[in-house]
Amino acid sequence: MSMELIINGQPRQLEQVQHVEDVVRELGLLGKPLVAEVEGKVLTAQQWASVPVQPGMKIELVHFVGGG
């Protein structure tokens, strides 16, 4: 079953996603250093597997980049 989520400000259709961890995996980002925020709430990586996603949810996936 496919679900539309708003990821980093853009709508995205993903297949077979139940939890935040599934979203990260579907996007090919599992194992990479990143932080997820779901509906304005920052999650630790340990929470990914237990936080469910629902259609239309706003998810931010961020990481460290060069900066001063």
């Binding site: 400000g9 990479k32 250093p33 990143l34 996936l61 961020v62 460290f64 060069g66 900066g67 001063g68």
Partner: protein
Amino acid sequence: MSQDKLMIGGKELSSRLFIGTGLFPNPYVQKEAVRASGSEVLTFAIRRINLDATEDDSILQHIEEGSYTYLPNTSGARTADEAVRIARLARASGLSDWIKVEISANERTLLPDPIETLKATEILVKEGFTVLPYTSDDPILCKRLEEAGAAAVMPGAAPIGTGLGLLNPYHIGLIVEEAGVPIIVDAGLGSAGDVAQAMELGVSGVLMNTPIAKAKDPVRMAGAMKLAVEAGRLSYLSGRIAKKKYATASSGLEQYMIR
């Protein structure tokens, strides 16, 4: 110098040079420059992952494993609320609870918004962060940030990336005199001379990015900045001579003059 350590947020640092990780020509040069600088504190920014790019461009893959303290910044934030949100995201990485509060309200100057910076500092201190706010070189504001619980206060020398050097050394001197926490000059420095000047005013350290990353030879410049920090610090600790209007002969004793 071996006993002259810098303490911030319970951490003891041997190097007084903090380095930003943006703008380097490539990851190899960045790695070598960081090594040449002797820096122990590295700054990063937080951004959305580009989901359409396949390669992993997280800065962390380019950083050598070592005893670095990570100082993520809140650049891009225009309000205290945005800065707090970025800080929480940074801390969730599990890499650091240090945060450089950086809130710019003006695109052209990128000068810090002092009111939002103070607000964000108050909130983040209460949430248990080690907060290092980047701020204007205003002595009263710097004191207010210290009173709000900042672990160090980081007044700018000049707008970010300008390389103009210390625009108001008088204010930086006053800020140091009043300070009960380390003062780190952050942003606007251009050369090793600027760094030494700041250190001679008694600041505890400097944070820079552009003057190293955009130098013709970033690795060599990183070494120059390291030496400038040390020279300026030693000079400050040693107590410079007073300035005088007229000459004083170095050999003295007028009566033994051969005439």
